[in-house]
Symmetry: C2
Subunit: 340 residues, 2 copies
DNA sequence: CTGAAAGCGCTTACAG
DNA sequence: CTGAAAGCGCTTACAG
């Protein structure tokens, strides 16, 4: 198995030099077309396979990108980041690159250990997929390697990141509810919990502001405690006509709860979610929601990291990827809003 | 960025040779402990990072394993194989290896193209995760590389594979229903659809046989057409007391249907699933099911492929990974079966 | 158009 | 205990 065919073998067989074989196989100048063709033919016949390690050592490039996901986002029921990773792998392929997955264990995160992909020079760049601790962000900063934060950002660190436009997505879907005639719209979510939820809330709030609608305590429904564990959602005395839930899973749970309480969705009240994950289609009725564009996020992330590999000084800043509204049946049109 | 520190740099700084540095950093014999320590210290200070490409070229080993997943198993709502891949990556880490994900596009599968990880010598072995076409199996066979089929097997090909023990899992969970006093147990699934479903059916059938229970047409409920699309499940005239569903998703759908028809689970009839995926916990009541042991599958797969990397002639044949029953609330105990 | 020489960073004998 | 030499497979100048 270790008896791999090398360029030298092809060269010997043809009585040429390995330099010529290299040029021919790489379609470089300096070989006659006849010879080039012959070399390629023989290479195919001999089952020649390119040794990328040899090229790597010459170029100082591994042609791999590391994707690091913190362990705590990798539960058996969570697959969002794996989906993103998959799309990244597909996009990397277009550049002749490969993706190496690196689950960041909680110990390594605490002890601020460099990932093995870095200390073994296995990758030309690294995408950190999912929020890591402040301390670990510093560790990442110390890595001499192009790096990119995906799906989160750091307020202080001048680092490149790509995130979903939570703010705009929530803004848009709230606008949609208002267009459908809703005037009493609540937000469901703990706005102190994560920055995504906070941003989604602010998008919702902007929509309210723009339409001259007041926000008050009554319209803020908490969905989880400080540990992120879901709690029973308390309804206000007077029912709003619509609810902007911070994510599909919460919308799903909330919908079930409304059902049990005798409210019908969307007849008695409308619900929208965010993410467009399994819960959006599992809900009854299926949810109108904001789809996070995983493919686009991966595409942008890969483009950004490849840019940085070829030009390490390249800065991209904080980049937003827009989602899009998926219309389903969880929203009732009360009356159509006249054009403003 | 390309100005990486090499062993030579450390050697020069210390006035020794790079051979000595190599020995020291690799904890090999032939360097005094004092020097060894000093070298390690300086290496740390200089931020030395090992160049694995150089080692690769010497050893003829990439220290990567490719994991190939056919595109059609990578839908937005399917994450099972990604979960397996993730576990594989974690297991590979224990061996100092990395996992490279390779989504096999439908075109490549049809045109019988070798994966790029292979033609570029990027991996020391490859795990094919998920059923590929007969033709493509042949293509895989032609790859001169340790390879392993995961979660499917080929009847003809003398190839190494690791699969969940569908047969035994279904056998066990059917036994459990019988222990709970059920005597009229149906199987829900198209037994001509996939080999997993067929094997699960046969496990169910074995349990019936062992308990002297007859199988007849009435107890076989089809759940999908020849294209794999779900169809409405037709209930027999006389209701069985329990249903062995071929997977959790079908159990979930079937449960909803029973609910709508006025049957209560588990009071009116019991249901069990298979897989222990999201649907198992989403179902109401949550499903008793057979958990597919993803971690164990990954562990076995990685061990097998690593064995084959060090010894290419190693054969492991067809290896089964046992699942385990997860007890929840979808089964009613009719009366306890006395010990046989 | 073709090839000899040197080098990428490391390791493996082998010599001292 | 330490190091000079050779080599892994390829590519990049450079010479002919």
């Amino acid at each position: 198995m270790k008896s791999n065919i090398t360029m030298k073998d092809i060269a010997d067989k043809l009585g040429v030099s390995s330099v010529t074989v290299s040029k021919a196989l790489n379609d470089k100048e300096g070989v006659s077309d006849t010879l080039k063709l012959k070399i390629k033919k023989v290479a195919g016949e001999m089952g020649y396979r390119f040794n990328s390690a040899a090229k790597s050592i010459k170029d100082g490039l591994s042609y791999n990108i590391g994707v690091m996901i913190p362990q705590r986002f990798t539960g058996l029921r969570e697959s969002f980041y794996l989906q993103v990773y998959q799309q990244i792998a597909i996009q990397l392929d277009h550049y002749g690159y490969f993706g190496i997955l690196n689950i960041l264990s909680s110990e390594d995160e605490e002890q601020l250990n460099f990932p093995r992909v870095y200390s073994e020079n296995k990758v030309d760049g690294i995408i950190i997929l999912g929020q890591v601790s402040k301390k670990y962000i510093e560790t990442v900063q110390n890595m001499e390697l192009p790096k990119l934060f995906l799906d989160f950002y750091d307020e202080h660190a001048a680092i490149d990141s790509i995130v979903t436009d939570n703010f705009y997505g929530a803004y848009e879907i709230t606008n949609y509810l208002i267009q459908c005639g809703h005037r009493d719209i609540a937000f469901v979510g703990n706005i102190y919990s994560t920055s995504s939820i906070q941003d989604r809330f602010l998008g919702y709030y902007k929509s309210l502001l723009e339409h001259g609608m007041a926000l008050n305590e009554r319209l803020l429904l908490n969905d989880r405690d400080e540990h992120g564990a879901y709690i029973d959602i308390e309804l206000p005395e007077q029912m709003p006509t619509a609810f902007v839930c911070n994510c599909d899973q919460v919308a799903y749970i909330f919908g079930e709860r409304l059902n049990n309480m005798g409210y019908r969705v969307p007849d008695d009240c409308s619900i929208v979610g965010f993410d467009n994950d399994v819960y959006a289609t599992l809900a009854n009725p299926p949810l109108t929601t904001v789809e996070v564009d995983i493919e686009q996020m991966a595409r942008s992330a890969v483009k950004a990291i490849m840019d940085k590999v070829s030009n390490p000084h390249r800065r991209i800043g904080r980049m937003l990827v827009q989602g899009k509204i998926i219309y389903r049946n969880s929203v009732k049109t009360l009356h159509t809003e006249p054009a403003e």
